[in-house]
């Protein structure tokens, strides 16, 4: 049973047509790159899988079930925007998240805070964009979620924080059990992390495949393939 299955999914917002008939099956237990330029529909696709938006038409299933409270319980979603309460400290934000999700492991969160060099007593409002990006990752990777959806986790973030984020994903990813889908338009830095990739352009899937197989077939990096197909 695939982690995610989409059948002829459309999403319209008033005049715009964000997804134009997406058919997709994502294997379980992999780190998958969802690659496309800004406005290609990546965020919409992830929000639909997280149950935060519903498709205008078409069918969406997570672990063989329609989107429901049950599928949301096994899904961790990191939005590209900040959804923190700025008056909270890092510690309070973690406690808050922990109270929201049964599968949150507090000890993991405190380990990650230390690894990612965040000060638990700092106010969210005083954090840089890179620090906020690292905190979002702490919250997502501290859950025992079977499906993790990350929307542009590297976007607008300083290079050391990007490195720390990529390292943490490689280290903390529970190989085999967990499916992680990462959307990005910055393919260069992240491409080594992906086992499978999905290229999205103007609301349509233009290419999918196994990363190493695409490299072998085309003699090109994912970043170069991205420039060609998107």
């Amino acid at each position: 049973m695939p982690a995610i299955e989409l059948t002829d999914v459309h999403k319209r917002y008033y005049r715009s047509h964000a997804l134009r008939g997406v058919n997709l099956s994502v294997d379980r237990g992999k780190i998958v790159g969802l690659l496309g330029p800004n406005g290609s529909g990546k965020s919409t696709l992830l929000r639909i899988c997280a149950g935060l938006a519903s498709p205008t038409s078409g069918k969406v299933q997570v672990h063989g079930q329609d989107i429901s409270i049950a599928t949301k319980a096994i899904t961790a979603y990191i939005p590209d925007i900040d959804s923190f309460y700025s008056w909270m400290t890092v510690r309070q934000a973690i406690a808050f998240e922990s109270s929201m999700f049964d599968d949150f492991v507090l000890a993991d969160a405190m380990d990650l805070v230390r690894e990612l060099k965040l000060d638990p007593d700092n106010k969210i409002s005083s954090l840089s964009k890179g620090q906020r990006g690292r905190l979002k990752l702490v919250l997502a990777m501290s859950r025992r979620a079977e499906l993790v959806l990350m929307d542009e986790p590297l976007s607008g973030i300083d290079p050391p924080s990007r490195t720390a984020i990529l390292e943490t994903i490689a280290d903390r990813y529970r190989a085999g059990e967990q499916t992680i889908i990462i959307s990005t338009h910055e393919v260069l830095e992240s491409e080594k992390l992906f086992e499978d990739v999905i290229f999205l352009s103007e609301g349509r899937i233009v290419l999918t495949g196994e990363a190493d197989q695409l490299r072998a077939e085309r003699g090109k990096s994912l970043n170069e393939i991205f420039a060609e197909v998107c």
Partner: protein, 145 residues
């Protein structure tokens, strides 16, 4: 390990090659432990499944052995290093000769060009292994030949 990848080539074959180099040059000796899949993935910021695939492929080739719960080790058989090195040598020589012939050099020209180049780059006095590999930090050449 400062492994750097060429992203236009499959990552798992590059992981395999880096281990094969280390075995061929003696940087990794029979029985030595490889980095764990997770540590390798973290250091190279790559996918643990990709590292696992490379290790599995090396195991199929007989270059490494996995011991349950303990990790992955270079095969204890002393012939392995010699075999790996000789295969890599053959491949390197074949591709060099093929390219030179495509450039329409005669055999004697090829030999004299090689001699000239060797003279230009100084004498390489080694008659064993552990030379010119990518990881030249340590200098043990004992177990290889």
């Amino acid at each position: 390990m400062g492994i750097s990848f060429d992203e236009s080539v499959p990552i798992y074959t590059q992981i395999m090659k880096s281990v094969l180099w280390d075995v061929a040059t003696g940087a990794l000796l029979p029985g030595d432990k490889l980095l764990s899949v997770r540590d390798f993935a973290k250091q190279a910021k790559t996918n643990p499944n990709t590292v696992q695939r490379a290790y599995a492929e090396l195991e199929r080739m007989g270059v490494v052995e996995t011991q349950r719960g303990q990790g992955t080790f270079v095969s204890a058989s002393p012939e392995i290093a010699r075999e790996v090195r000789s295969e890599m040598t053959t491949a390197a020589v074949e591709s060099f000769v093929e390219e030179m012939r495509r450039l329409r050099y005669s055999d004697s020209d090829i030999i004299s060009l090689v001699s000239q180049q060797l003279a230009k780059t100084g004498t390489n006095s080694s008659n064993g292994a552990a030379q010119n590999g990518p990881s030249t930090t340590n200098d043990h050449d004992g177990g290889v030949q």
